[in-house]
């Protein structure tokens, strides 16, 4: 980035304010700056709240009549990954919009969270490979494990990210997602997809609802 600066100052630069105008300017600038610099977590909550149940629902739909359990079909997995790519793309655009030009602690936090997230999620799938290698049943390797563990880890990563931005509504929703996903393991290989997906969706839509209510209350 290049910066060449004209250092001339306009004559109106030292213009003062009457107190009412100052209060209005302060409120307006604070509102605008907060809107521009803060991540639109309402949009992200709504997006996740709608897409997670659909993605996990597609997988559940593909396995619901399997006896014995074999795992999701390739078509269902493909659709799920298509949704993941779509959501990642939109989320990235939302984060970039708000974080353009922001540095300092924010950048350090983002790098730390990216590293923790990458290790956590890659680690989860490495363990899945190890389970397959150890000839653990398909019900665990392609059912209970992938329907729950990535969401438990994802929820925890989301909670850390939300706490860094002091977004306590999203923090709570992210922890709820982890808890629901952990509990979903008891629903069996088929039920785990439904419980995880719909539980996570409900937590995120609840978070979006709280945020909307807070916005209206202001």
């Amino acid at each position: 980035m290049t910066e060449s600066h004209d250092t001339t100052e306009s004559p109106s630069a030292e213009e003062t304010l009457d107190p009412r105008a100052a209060a209005a300017l302060l409120a307006e600038t604070t509102e605008k700056a907060s809107h521009a610099l803060q991540v639109n977590s309402l949009l992200l909550s709504l997006l996740g709240g709608l897409v997670l149940p659909v993605g996990f629902g597609i997988i559940w739909w593909s396995v619901r009549h399997q006896h014995p359990y074999q795992g999701p079909t390739l078509g269902a997995i493909g659709l799920m990954y298509l949704l993941v790519v779509l959501v990642d793309g939109i989320s990235l655009a939302v984060f970039r919009r708000s974080s353009r030009g922001v540095g300092g602690q924010y950048k350090k936090n983002r790098r730390m969270l990216s590293a923790v997230g990458a290790v956590g999620l890659i680690g989860a799938y490495v363990i899945m490979g190890a389970l397959e290698h150890a000839h653990v049943t398909h019900a665990v390797v392609y059912g209970i494990y992938p329907a729950t563990v990535p969401l438990v880890i994802g929820g925890m990563i989301g909670a850390v990210g939300a706490s860094q931005r002091e977004d306590w509504t999203l923090f709570t929703a992210a922890l709820v997602i982890s808890c629901v996903a952990a509990g979903a393991a008891f629903a069996g290989p088929v039920g785990a997809w439904a419980v995880s997906g719909f539980g996570a969706g409900a937590a995120l839509l609840g978070s979006a609802g709280v945020k909307l209510a807070q916005r209206h209350a202001r």
Partner: protein, 99 residues
């Protein structure tokens, strides 16, 4: 409270907008000069002039990284600047209550 108690350094539209914008960042975060300029809609010269005054008072700090065409300036509110803006807002409320 009367209007005279308002911090004269902050009680100027451009500097009030600079401080209010930087206050929207979390503590420890910085904002690039370019993004700040876009948000405040001031000319680079005006922004530099106001930033210098705020920096002299210890309300903001700026840091330049890189050199030449790759140089990048980032700006942040200092703890002292945050306290001053809070005090300004409180005084302003007092003044408005008295009107």
């Amino acid at each position: 409270m009367n209007e005279g108690e308002l911090d004269p350094l902050i009680h100027v539209p451009a500097r009030l907008r600079i401080l209010a914008t930087l206050a929207a960042l979390h503590e420890g975060d910085t904002l690039s000069f370019t993004r700040l300029q876009e948000m405040i809609e001031l000319t680079p010269g005006n922004l530099i002039t106001h930033l210098r005054k705020l920096e002299d008072a210890g309300y903001v700090k700026s840091e330049k990284t890189g050199a030449g065409v790759a140089s990048r300036t980032s700006v942040a509110l200092t703890p002292r600047g945050r306290v001053a803006l809070d005090a300004y807002a409180q005084t302003l409320r007092g003044v408005l209550d008295g009107i």
